[in-house]
Every structure is written in C-alpha cells, then in structure tokens.
C-alpha cells in the first residue's frame, strides 16, 4: 500500500512540476489557465495520498471547477491579447527560492520525523461513510457559523461579480 501511495505521490510531484513550469513559460494566458487545472489535479492527488479524500473531491469540484470556469470566461470575454514576454531574471528566481524555503521548511522539518503519512493511520481504519458522516457533522453542526459565513461569502461573490461585470 505504501509503495502505491509513494507512486501516486511521485506522479503528483511530476504533474505539479510540469504544470507549474508550463504556467511560467507558455506564451498565451489561456494555456496558463489550462496548466493551472493540472496543478489543481496534482494537489488533489497529494490530498488523496494523505487520506484527505473529501478535501480532494471538494478541491476538484469547487476550486478547480469554479476557478477554471471563471478564468476561461474572462479569457473569452477579453479575447486574444498581444502578450508581452515575461521579464525573466535571476533576482526573481532567487526571491522565489527564498520564499519557497521560508514557507516549506517548518513542514519539511516536521515531516522528516517518523510518523503517520495518511489520515487513515491517524484516525484508525474506519469506513469512508463513517468519515464522511463525521466531516458532515463538523461542517453543519460543530462549525455552523463558519459554514454560514462561507455561504454568505459565496452569495456576496455572486452579487459582486454580476455587478462588476455589468459595470454598475
């Protein structure tokens, strides 16, 4: 099982690397949006390896679906633009490397110590249905204020998007 998880994690790493490079180097923004979808898929694969299947499904449905739809809609609305070449520079690469090291070093230190790598190892083997019931209980019962806040944000987003798009 661990070999299969490692294999999937390596595929996610390769997919994420190729997609992120694609976002930086492609000439047209539309292709960058398509590569972003593959970054989302790689992230979802990593979530599945870690046992957060419900987050992976949510990520694919809400984040990848909505984000790519919105960005593609904008791309369709503004049409083909003559795009300036990105200003590649060594200083930008150094800043990006420092940012990546700063963000991921604490997680790397914690992950290097032996311990569980999957949610199923932490909570014990229970059925997927039981996990879904527990997650649903947290979302709709224990954390209902946050759920209400998220729904209000979604509705406000729809109102704002329509208002801005109509230029009103």
């Amino acid at each position: 099982m661990m070999e299969l998880d490692l294999f999937v994690a390596l595929i996610a790493l390769a997919t994420g690397l190729a997609s992120a490079i694609g976002i930086v180097v492609v000439r047209r923004s539309f292709y960058a949006i398509i590569w972003l979808a593959f970054v989302g898929v790689a992230t979802a694969m990593a979530m599945v390896v870690m046992g957060f299947t419900y987050l992976a499904i949510f990520h694919l449905l809400i984040y990848v679906g909505a984000t790519i739809a919105f960005l593609t809609l904008v791309m369709t609305a503004i049409g083909e633009q003559e795009e300036a070449k990105p200003k590649h520079s060594l200083s930008a690469a150094i800043v990006a490397a420092i940012a990546a090291v700063a963000v991921t070093t604490p997680a790397a230190i914690m992950a290097s110590s032996p311990g569980p790598y999957s949610l199923s190892q932490v909570i014990g083997h229970r059925s997927d249905l039981a996990l879904w019931v527990e997650v649903s209980r947290r979302v709709f019962v224990d954390l209902w204020p946050a759920t209400v806040f998220a729904l209000i944000a979604l509705v406000a987003m729809l109102v704002e998007v329509v208002a801005v798009a109509r230029k009103s």
Binding site: M2, D5, L6, A9, L13, G16, A20, I23, V24, S29, A32, I33, W35, L36, V39, T43, V49, M50, Y54, L55, F58, H59, I62, Y63, A66, T67, L71, V74, A77, I78, E83, A84, K87, S89, A92, A96, A97, A99, A100, V101, V103, T104, A107, M110, S113, G115, P116, Y117, S118, L119, V122, L143, A146, A150, M157, L158, E160, V161, V164, A165
Partner: protein, 105 residues
C-alpha cells in the same frame, strides 16, 4: 518519505508561483501564479497537520476544515479578481500590469 515528496511538490509550486508573480506582466497570468502559490500552501498546511498530530485524531479533521473553508474563500477571491480584471479591460482596453498605473492616487 511520502510526506517529504509532498513537501517537495509544495516547495516547487510556491517557488514557481512566486517567480510567475514577479515576472509576469499580464494580470491574468499573475492571478494564475497566485493560485499556484495557494495550492502549494494548502499542501504545506496539510503536511503540518498530519505531522503534528500524534495523540488524538480529532484535531486532524478539525484542522482540515480550515482547508475546506480556505478553498471556498479562494474560489470567491478568484471570482472577484477575475471580475475586476474584466472591468479594467473594459475601461483600459488592456490587462497589462503597466497599464494600471493610472489607478495610483
């Protein structure tokens, strides 16, 4: 080993996303790069959650709820930024970063 592979994936996403933000001149591409960084950061948070919990499983699910709501709010953020880019294109006829300098006070 598996968590380290995922940390490497997160580091690459953060690094390439930051590089894209710094070098892109198209606002849409800047937004796409910011979303790449977001994907890396949520992986970092998930790895940290899994690595830090050794005793009780309950905080793992509670902490993953944070990611759930972050995903919702990021979809909202993308929609708002996309509509602002659309509005800027209607007024400026361009989505280049240099062309929005007139917005300065």
């Amino acid at each position: 080993m598996i968590l380290m592979v995922i940390v490497w994936l997160a580091a690459l996403l953060v690094a390439l996303g930051t590089y894209g933000v710094l070098t892109s001149r198209n606002m849409l591409r800047v937004l796409v790069s910011i979303e790449t960084v977001f994907n890396g950061v949520i992986l970092v948070v998930l790895v940290t959650i899994l690595s830090s919990v050794r005793v009780s499983p309950s905080p793992v699910i509670d902490a993953s709820m944070l990611i759930l709501f972050a995903i919702i709010l990021t979809a909202v953020e993308v929609a708002v930024l996309a509509s602002i880019i659309l509005l800027l294109f209607r007024t400026k006829k361009s989505v280049m970063v240099e062309d929005t300098r007139g917005l300065r006070g």
